[in-house]
């Protein structure tokens, strides 16, 4: 056994404590990518809402869309499909970038820390998703955008204990936006684009600069 150099021992211990509790392979690029996808999705949604309300309607006032007898009308379905596609593409991208990074860091992609992170994120997120469906069901689509932001923020806040610190700040920003958006339903789509698009790009970029930039050529 090499005789202990306390300095390198302490560094070793710190890294083990970090790696065994936190999933540090989460790539900032997945945030940037998800943000880009969300912006495209928001643009598509705005396009559909504007088309639905006819010319002259403020494209961002999707909350004003009336839902009367038929709740499952074509606009709802289109927007739901749009949102689901954004989610699917963003998740695929996140998975890919994170997989790439976990290989580089030699941290397993599906180790105990990744599982802990995933469950802590998914449980509040799934509950939120179902509440959003119930809002649609009850004909309150205007509250869906703020609700997705708030539930996403809470899910991230819960998961932030198990990954990089920036996620906590992203979570708090999503929560603030979601609460503001809930009082300003007419601009729901704009807040949604800010929260899922702009914030992801900002924090993803920040994470990339802080944790990955120097390692890209390793």
């Amino acid at each position: 056994m090499d005789h202990n150099d306390p300095r390198s021992d302490l560094a070793h211990i710190r890294s083990l404590m970090e790696r065994s509790t936190r999933f540090i392979s989460l790539s900032g690029l997945s945030g940037v990518f998800a943000g880009g996808v969300a912006l495209v999705g928001a643009w598509v949604a705005q396009h559909h809402v504007a088309g639905h309300l006819g010319s002259g309607a403020d494209a961002l006032t999707y909350g004003a869309v009336r839902y009367e007898v038929s709740k499952a009308d074509s606009l709802t379905i289109t927007l739901l499909f749009d949102a689901m596609s954004v989610l699917a593409v963003a998740l695929l991208g996140a998975f890919w970038f994170t997989w790439r990074r976990s290989k580089r860091l030699e941290q397993g992609l599906w180790d105990a820390s990744a599982k802990r992170l995933t469950w802590n994120l998914l449980i509040p997120l799934a509950a939120g998703g179902m509440v959003c469906l119930s809002l649609m069901y009850h004909g309150l689509p205007g509250l869906v955008a703020p609700a997705t932001l708030v539930f996403y923020g809470l899910a991230l806040l819960n998961a932030s204990k198990y990954t990089l610190d920036e996620i906590r700040w992203l979570a708090l920003s999503e929560l603030v936006l979601g609460v503001i958006a809930s009082f300003w339903i007419g601009a729901g789509l704009m807040f949604w684009a800010l929260g899922f698009g702009v914030l992801h790009i900002v924090y993803g970029g920040l994470m990339w600069v802080r944790h990955e930039r120097d390692q890209t050529n390793v």
Binding site: M1, D2, N4, P6, R7, D9, L10, H12, I13, L16, M17, R19, S20, T21, G108, D111, A112
Partner: protein
């Protein structure tokens, strides 16, 4: 010998084991092996030393037909490890003053 530095933690593997166990509730054998990049035998022999000191508790059970072993740090183990870390910190400070 510096006061507080513990003979039981002289090996890097044992330090690693205690580092991981003190920040997690319970860690499975496979996870620990992967984190520390050691062999089964190596991990088992260090574990035997730590369990003999009652610093670590071992839980063995079967999941289906496969044996599953998990480890947990005891209160005594956590305290001994913390004291050891403090002693290492003091050693470093002394080192800097020289």
């Amino acid at each position: 010998m510096i006061e507080g530095l513990h003979k039981a933690f002289e090996s890097r593997v044992r330090l690693g084991i205690m580092a991981v166990l003190t920040v997690n509730d319970e860690v499975e054998h496979g996870t620990l092996k992967e984190l520390l990049s050691v062999t089964d035998g190596n991990l088992a022999s260090h574990m035997a030393a730590l369990t003999a000191l009652k610093y670590v508790l071992v839980r063995k059970r079967f999941i289906g037909n496969r044996p599953n072993t998990a480890y947990k740090a005891t209160a005594a183990g956590t305290k001994a490890f913390k004291d050891h870390l403090d002693a290492m910190g003091r050693l470093l400070k002394k080192d800097l003053r020289q």
